[in-house]
């Protein structure tokens, strides 16, 4: 497959949705975007528009209805779960099933795709784990149990786990929910820093913060899905199409939403 511009994550006329015997339920169609390494990309859209469905499809949790997904120029279908684990890591909305782990143990689990049958950590694994803890400023929490952490710290620990997995692509599903404005901003700043040599795609409801920080945005509206530079998208008026106009409207000057009085 030709990949002239080194896109790490690409979709071609992708349709997502659910398979039913009585006809497939298409959630969104004609999704086209191409993400490069070094880009922080925000995925925005109203509730129920299909953000999570899209992320699940990109992670190979569910099948696409039509179109292609290319990772590093290779079709997602050709990836085994093992090789996908070395290409793409995730941060989900769910918390770990067991909170009895220490942050160190949690982050160390991110090395599983590389460890032997018993999960023994090599010196190389430990270097990656320490680096992930350092990058997320979680080093001092290494021996803390997960149930002792605040929501913001737990989110950082989960991001550290994804970092330790050492993949060129990281996908995050609403990493800023349940956090206050300060911690939302700090998580997004962290993602911005981390995206220097990775492709990071995250879904969010923080549209104004996303406009300020992200390099590219995928905007899902009921009619159509837009992809591009945040400023260009504002000029095109995409954000006004996000929600019904009778209640809130997008102010292009300030890059934020206003309640219609």
């Amino acid at each position: 497959m030709s990949n002239p511009e080194n896109y790490t994550l690409q979709t071609n006329n992708l349709s997502i949705g659910y398979f039913h015997k009585s006809g497939n339920h298409v959630v969104a169609k004609d999704l086209n975007f191409s993400l490069k390494s070094g880009e922080l990309v925000a995925l925005v859209g109203s509730n129920g528009i299909g953000k999570s469905t899209l992320l699940r499809t990109l992670c190979k949790v569910q099948k696409s209805i039509a179109g292609d997904i290319l990772l590093n120029g290779e079709s997602l279908q050709n990836y085994s779960f093992e090789s996908l684990a070395e290409t793409l890591s995730v941060v989900l909305t769910e918390v770990p099933a067991s909170k009895n782990m220490t942050v160190g143990e949690l982050v160390a689990l991110g090395r599983q795709p590389y460890t032997n049958w018993l999960g023994t950590l090599t010196q190389n694994d430990i270097t990656h784990i320490m680096e992930a803890l350092r990058a997320t400023e979680m080093t001092s929490f290494k021996d803390r149990k997960c149930y002792e952490l605040s929501d913001g710290q737990l989110q950082r620990a989960l991001i550290a786990r994804a970092l330790a997995q050492d993949t060129p692509i990281i996908i995050l599903d609403e990493p800023t929910t349940h956090l206050d404005i300060y911690h939302r901003a700090s998580i997004l700043k962290l993602l911005k820093t981390l995206s220097k040599n990775k492709t990071i795609l995250f879904s969010t409801h923080e549209i104004d913060l996303a406009i300020q920080l992200s390099d590219k945005m995928v905007v899902m509206t009921p009619e159509k899905t837009f992809f591009g530079d945040p400023c260009e998208l504002i000029e095109e008026g995409c954000f006004s199409a996000l929600f019904p106009k009778n209640l809130i409207d997008f102010d292009g000057e300030t890059g934020s939403f206003r309640i219609v009085k």
Binding site: L92, V95, E105, T115, G119
Partner: protein, 343 residues
């Protein structure tokens, strides 16, 4: 991260404790035998009285070894189930394994009364009990495994296992209702559990099943650790969920099925031991927890058995009652103190 080194002391202490409890268990019993003679008998040297050697070698030693395998095996099952079902209340019997074994034994004991005479006596040998309970637990487990192939949700599997358990318990109830008192008594004695009736031949079968079960459990260490994150995260790290789940269930089935067949349904050990162990070994890593749980389970079972045989008297209490009497307060105490059971 890797805290294996810091637990060396714990493992050493636990191993010493196991050896002490093992010798304590063997030296205590209805017949009082001097410690020196116990040691002699264990090393197959001549003892003062020939009967002492017989008691130690053919009764107490197999019983103590059975206790070790039962305690260790059930505790590992409990740990596996708690991680797989993300539920601190899961134990080896949540999947209906003991109910299946009960059904097999109930059908044999109470069904045989219908045949009458010599044939019934032939059916009720010790081995037929073992075979019946193994078949019973196997049947329920195969049903659960068949369901697992179709049902993807782990919680649904847990509930289905409980339902299978209820159905088999109901069938046992109906059988019991129509059975003569003698057969009913025999069934109830089986359900009390027993470690003492095991011959050396029986030990061989139990040991083989135990070893296979433990080896399979060791193979599941990495998947179990991944499952601590939840199934979606585990999958994103390249884990084949269905395959791992099957492996964990097979390990549990072999261990719990064989143990129940030989020792009867032993309550609470599988549920309580992982929680007690986690008080001392605070790691979540199964590479540490599995050996820790093996040792603690063996120690606790030996202690329970020593209590059950009521030293220096002729009484032997049902082991199942003792494990519940020891296990239930421990779980209650943990809940009251911590207010939350973590797994």
């Amino acid at each position: 991260m890797e805290k294996t080194t810091t637990y060396t002391k714990h493992f050493f202490a636990l191993s010493v404790l196991l050896v002490v409890v093992f010798f304590g268990n063997i030296s205590l019993g209805s017949v009082s035998i001097p410690l020196k003679e116990v040691a002699k008998a264990l090393f197959y040297l001549d003892t003062e009285k020939a009967s002492w050697a017989f008691i130690i070698q053919d009764y107490r030693l197999p019983k103590a070894l059975t206790a070790i395998m039962v305690g260790a095996g059930l505790s590992v099952c409990g740990l596996l189930m708690q991680t797989l079902f993300r539920n601190p209340l899961a134990g080896p019997f949540v999947l209906g394994i003991s109910s299946g074994a009960s059904l097999g034994v109930a059908l044999l004991i109470m069904g045989a009364s219908g045949l009458g005479g010599v044939f019934a006596a032939l059916l009720l040998s010790k081995w037929s009990l073992v075979i019946a309970s193994s078949l019973g637990s196997m049947l329920v487990l195969l049903a659960v495994l068949a369901v697992t192939v179709r049902v993807k949700d782990t919680m649904a599997i847990l509930i289905i296992g409980l339902m299978f358990g209820s159905v088999t318990a109901a069938v046992v109830g109906v059988l019991a209702y129509f059975s003569p008192a003698e057969q009913l008594q025999q069934y109830i004695f089986w359900s009390f559990g027993s470690l003492g009736n095991n011959s050396w031949e029986g030990m061989l079968v139990l040991s083989i099943c135990f070893l296979i079960g433990i080896v399979l459990s060791i193979l599941t260490i990495k998947p179990l650790n991944a499952l601590l994150l939840g199934e979606n995260y585990a999958k994103s790290q390249g884990l084949h969920i269905a395959k791992s789940r099957l492996l964990i269930l097979i390990a549990t089935c072999i261990l719990a099925g064989a143990i129940t067949a030989f020792a009867g349904p032993i309550a609470f050990i599988g549920l309580a031991v992982p929680h007690i162990t986690r008080q001392v070994f605070t790691a979540a890593n199964h590479k540490i927890l599995i050996p820790a749980v093996l040792l603690s389970g063996a120690v606790l079972m030996l202690v329970c058995d020593s209590i059950a045989q009521v030293p220096f008297t002729d009484y032997t209490l049902p082991i199942n009652a003792i494990t519940s009497l020891v296990g239930a307060p421990v779980v209650i105490w943990l809940l009251v103190r911590k207010r939350k059971l973590l797994f």
